[in-house]
């Protein structure tokens, strides 16, 4: 099945208050303590399926110290007490070795590290020395939102943008659009633009239908 994506501009930087908690109250509470230095555990690892909100959380917690991993990412010695590393599974073997050393330094020097990945550390196909160390800290799962939570999240996002999204319109989006949270929020942003140009304060099903029809979906990866 081909996944359709929107060609729309990236949204605002994520904020912690926009994170829809769902079943992640403990995760959120722990991270808020961690960033303040009040969490007893200095090393935290978040795992969960794509779209569960890991990147959102990491970026919102401390945007200045956020690193999204790529195969080219290398970690250099870094005296800052905080480091947030998103999606370690994307690291190359060389990149993983550099993170391994930063981990050891941080451990020696009392600094903190928050990392994320798609699965628990024990199942990462990553330098075992690094993977087991990530599993040595506090490992928490970020649960993706279920449909009810996603509708609530869309409505909250709409309210934040200053428009109203009735329940049936939210449900319509969930049954007519890709349902991962990133795609849903991207669509919400586009709908907001439509509502502004149409001078509507309420996002109705006909407006959504028009918007979807006018968007030129294209196969992913192009």
């Amino acid at each position: 099945m081909r996944q359709l994506i929107l060609d729309i501009a990236p949204g605002e930087p994520p904020r912690l208050e926009d994170f829809v908690v769902g079943r992640n109250a403990e995760v959120l509470d722990t991270l808020q303590q961690w960033v303040r230095g009040a969490c007893p555990e200095r090393f935290v690892y978040l795992w969960g399926e794509p779209g569960a909100g890991k990147s959102h959380l990491l970026q919102a917690l401390c945007p200045g110290r956020y690193v999204a991993c790529t195969p080219d990412t290398r970690f250099l010695p870094d005296p800052d007490p905080l480091l947030l590393v998103d999606d370690v599974a994307r690291l190359s073997p060389e990149g993983a070795v550099t993170l391994f050393h930063r981990y050891n330094e941080r451990r020696d020097e009392g600094a903190r590290l928050l990392a994320s990945g798609p699965c628990p550390p024990s199942q990462l196909s990553l330098l075992p020395d690094l993977a087991t160390r990530l599993g040595w800290g506090l490992v928490l799962r970020v649960h993706a939102l279920d449909d009810t939570e996603k509708m609530a999240a869309l409505q909250a996002r709409a309210a934040h943008m200053g428009v109203s999204l009735p329940q049936e319109a939210a449900r319509y989006i969930l049954t007519h659009w890709t349902r991962d949270t990133a795609s849903l929020f991207a669509l919400m942003q586009e709908l907001n633009r439509w509502s502004l140009s149409a001078h509507r304060a309420i996002i109705t099903i006909p407006l959504i239908r028009d918007a979807l029809a006018s968007l030129q979906p294209r196969p992913s990866g192009m």
Binding site: T30, E41, S122, T132
Partner: protein
């Protein structure tokens, strides 16, 4: 008398694996008495070990030679030339050595023998480490400890360093990860400062290199380490090395280094067994001021099997959940806090998964697990998979036999016994078994 002891040594050497002979029997010194023989052990650990395991065998051989009694005592040995050790002219530390004098050795003060939980999986390594801590530079040099990730190698070698420093605060001790040594070599190369590099490393009393497999393929690093190793070992100063594999199996390592790693003692650390995992958890909790119920420890230990780090991580998860909910840690809360991890594990370790993992490991077809072919190249992996299935799943032997092409449960039983026997006598099979266990347990 000397004949008696010489013959006894030959006999025991033929009965024991070389490593055990070298560790426990070889250090004994025999002295003739009137109708008895006094065997002196260099320290109380060897003494106790020999007393528990080998004394009755030695006594029976003595009786055959008309000797009526064996006295086992601890040798009164002066600590190995401590004056010599502390009288080295210390080279000035390199610029990059830590600023605070009290942390120059880079040891974690919490990594001591008293916080190290012993068990069957690490008893040999622990005993050897204790001997090295008692007789650095003399007992086993180098001490080479190998095993999978997260099994406590770093803790054990740092415990040696901490104990030596406790007795000899002036000893020049240095712990480092192999990669740090590599970067020191690079820096010396860039700054053309190999003289001070050598001065520093060749002046140490105890050098501990963790994860030496990181030296693989790095020729200049290996060359420098070769010189440092020779300088230290020749002057009876201690070198301790850890690695993820047996010396001969380190990829990209020069033969001359590999052979030197075998000069002292090479010991393995294996994944902890259930009782040891429970003890690790209870001890870890106690260190953090938490009285962990044994049932909870047992529950965690039963499900988290692969390594100590993951075990400690699971305990942190259980504690964090209890903190968040404000409730005490109970079996129920432990189950709740670990349910995501456990659900994943249970999904993963089915008998089909074991068959596939083992087949992949030995590069044979999954279909060979069920086939009637009995060539060794297929039978061994099949026996390995059966033994792992018995070890990891709760399936009955008839169920396991059924899953392997409708074999009888006695075949499974035979496979399990055979694997146990092979694991005890064959390092390669034992390593394969542990590696597969670790892969399957995640």
């Amino acid at each position: 008398m000397n004949d008696f002891w010489g013959e006894t040594l030959d006999q025991i050497r033929s009965e024991l694996p070389e490593q055990q002979f070298t560790t426990w029997i070889k250090p004994l010194q025999a002295e003739m008495g009137d109708g008895f023989v006094t065997l002196s052990a260099p320290n109380r650990f060897i003494l106790q070990w020999v007393k528990d395991r080998y004394l009755s065998r030695i006594e029976s051989m003595a009786r055959l030679n008309g000797i009526h009694a064996i006295k086992l005592v601890q040798r009164n040995e002066a600590p190995p030339s401590s004056n010599e050790k502390t009288s080295h002219a210390y080279a000035e530390p390199l610029d990059e050595t830590p600023k605070q004098a009290d942390n120059r050795h880079r040891l974690n003060p919490n990594f001591t023998f008293s916080t190290f939980i012993g068990g069957k999986a690490n008893q040999l390594a622990r005993a050897a480490a204790l001997q090295v801590a008692e007789n650095p530079g003399a007992a086993y040099n180098p001490l080479f400890i190998y095993g999978g990730v997260g099994l406590g190698k770093t803790h054990l070698i740092q415990a040696i360093g901490n104990q030596i420093l406790e007795r000899q605060p002036n000893a020049k001790v240095r712990y480092m990860h192999a990669e740090k040594y590599v970067s020191d070599v690079v820096r010396a190369y860039q700054h053309k400062s190999f003289d001070s590099f050598k001065r520093y490393y060749h002046s140490l009393d105890l050098l501990m290199i963790d994860d030496i497999q990181f030296f693989g393929g790095k020729a200049r690093t290996q060359e420098e380490f070769f010189f440092a190793f020779n300088a230290l070992v020749e002057s009876h100063r201690q070198v301790i090395i850890t690695c993820d594999s047996f010396p001969k199996e380190i990829a990209g390592m020069e033969e001359r280094l590999i052979s030197r790693f075998g000069w002292g003692l090479t010991v393995a650390i294996e994944p902890p067994e259930l009782e040891m995992r429970v003890a690790i958890l209870i001890n870890k909790a106690r260190l953090e001021g938490l009285a962990l119920d044994e049932n909870v420890a047992f529950f965690i230990a039963k499900h988290i099997r692969s390594n100590v780090r993951e075990l400690e991580g699971a305990l942190k998860r259980v504690q964090a959940y209890a903190r968040f909910t404000g409730d005490a840690i109970t079996l129920q809360s432990a189950r709740e806090s670990l349910k995501d991890l456990l659900a994943l594990q249970h999904r993963q370790i089915s008998i089909e998964n074991i068959q596939k993992t083992v087949a992949d490991y030995y590069k044979i077809k999954v279909g060979d697990m069920f086939s009637k072919k009995r060539t060794r190249a297929l039978a061994r992996p099949r026996q390995m998979a059966m033994a792992l299935a018995k070890d990891i799943t709760n399936l009955s032997l008839p169920d396991i036999g059924e899953a392997f092409g409708g074999r009888d449960h006695t075949t499974v039983l035979h496979a399990c016994r055979k694997m146990q026997e092979l694991c005890e006598n064959d390092n390669t099979i034992q390593r394969d078994f542990l590696a597969l266990q670790q892969i399957l347990n995640g």
